[in-house]
């Protein structure tokens, strides 16, 4: 195991901590939008796909990569669009100017 791998494990562990802590106080209202947003983020495999699709190594890379890019892109685009629609429902209603009586 190289020193690089070791430090990558550090990165992984720290990021996992961050992911865990960041979520720990989410109200149930946001469970679904959050799931949807993290779903969109999991489209990050797009990054790997791009490298594959753009490499000159092999033709098979290009094709597999291209399909992977398309798949990942569906995930990213679809995920964000769904999240957006969902969050639109949570726009806070404006405070109704209550006809305030005498105190």
């Amino acid at each position: 195991m190289t020193a690089m791998t070791i430090i990558q494990i550090y990165v992984f562990v720290l990021a996992a901590f961050v992911g865990y802590m960041v979520i720990s106080r989410v109200p149930p209202l946001l469970h679904t939008p959050l799931m949807s947003a993290t779903n969109a983020i999991s489209g990050i495999s797009l990054v790997g796909s791009l490298v594959a699709a753009g490499s000159a190594d092999h033709h098979v890379s290009n094709i597999l990569g291209c399909v992977a890019v398309a798949c990942a892109m569906v995930n990213v685009v679809g995920g964000f669009v769904i999240t957006d629609r969902m969050l639109r429902m949570f726009q806070r209603k404006p405070k109704t100017p209550a006809a305030d009586g005498t105190q």
Partner: protein
Amino acid sequence: MNARDLVIQAAYLAASVFFILGLKSLSHPDRARQGMNQAAIGMLLAILGTLLVQDIVTYQWIAIGLVVGTVIGIPLGTKVPMTAMPQQIAISHGFGAAAATLVGVNEFVVRGFGAGLDHGTMTALGVETLLGALTVTGSLMAFGKLQEILPGRPITWPAQNVSSLALLAATFGILGWLIVAPGNPMAYWAMIGLSLLLGVLLVLPIGGADMPVVVSLLNSYAGLAAAATGFAIGNNVLIIAGALNGASGFLLSILMSKAMNRSFANVIFGAFGGEPVAAAATSTAGLTVRSVSAEDAAVQLAFASRVIVVPGYGLAVAQAQHVVQELAELIEKKGGEVKYAIHPVAGRMPGHMNVLLAEANVPYEKLLDMDEINPQFEQCDVALVVGANDVVNPAARTDPSSPIYGMPILNVDKARSAIVLKRSMNTGFAGIENALFYSPRTAMLFGDAKASLSRLVAEIKAL
């Protein structure tokens, strides 16, 4: 390290920070939108950074992929009705996992079918492919269940327990073998096949009601697959985003199962469990009761414009008059409007509710009697029934054989939604069942009314 690499790394670092900030904002209702935008910016930065990578020499395949993906992705996101959201997330997941799997396969293929891989990289690649493939079929199954293509009930088969465990062992066995001896394409393909099968078998035995939790768990797996990809190709943003996703998806599925009152263990080990747990209480007539968590009820109340509180004898027994008034004030502070519907015979003495609510200083103007309030239920977002039973029993309207037939009741069943606070499914004074509690628009929050109301207050304050 050259300037180009520095730019890439800076973009990746920025992307990671944006992902973190985005998730952080996404867990707060007021900032959720902003959080989504931050996450999107992170994604954009990650993509742009990647496009600079030295290894990328040809852009045509990339362009094709991006266009095709966008063309499929947009309608997928926009056309679907809001009610079908969970299955859309599931399918969108499936695509992401497929991408991760393909990247793994590609890496395996171009490195001489594994021959050019060291043990470490093979580990990463193997885990990536395994989790990716499992997630693809798992997501499809979840989609099928949610879309009701597949039956929603848990599907079981003889020796399910043994067969699933065996399959799991086999899959991981092959993975171990591959790590020891990477250059073995047959084993690799076999592992992919088994993983695909595993995805199916893991999800089938889980009931439809648990699917959202499953989707979130698959989300976590997809994240871990991405992180593994990062290790395999040495890409930091993949590691970070993947780990973020892996951890938050995992926690989220725990939180979701808690909020939905499901057993998380049941979801994870559903495939290996014995009998799945019975889903919900069922009335004699075969109707089901929906129970709700205080958190969810709190959100519903906090965001409602019109709330009608229907107090009954249970309010008196719990002596919850002060808390209910506090809750009402809180909802009003959040912008909602709260009224109290006083049924003439609520409680056990004439004016019982009046006495209690006056003690809690509820202004008289907020107390409406039956004739005034009944037409307002249809416009009300939430009717909060606090320990009332007979006075909201639709049988009085509909069932001539009922002992309360003919008594005018509060039309809680006409409200857009109702939350009922009581301790159990026990009957009230008249000793008869109440169909309101089995209505799909009704959610039951079980527990002593005072305790439940206190929890609602605390939850709304925490929002």
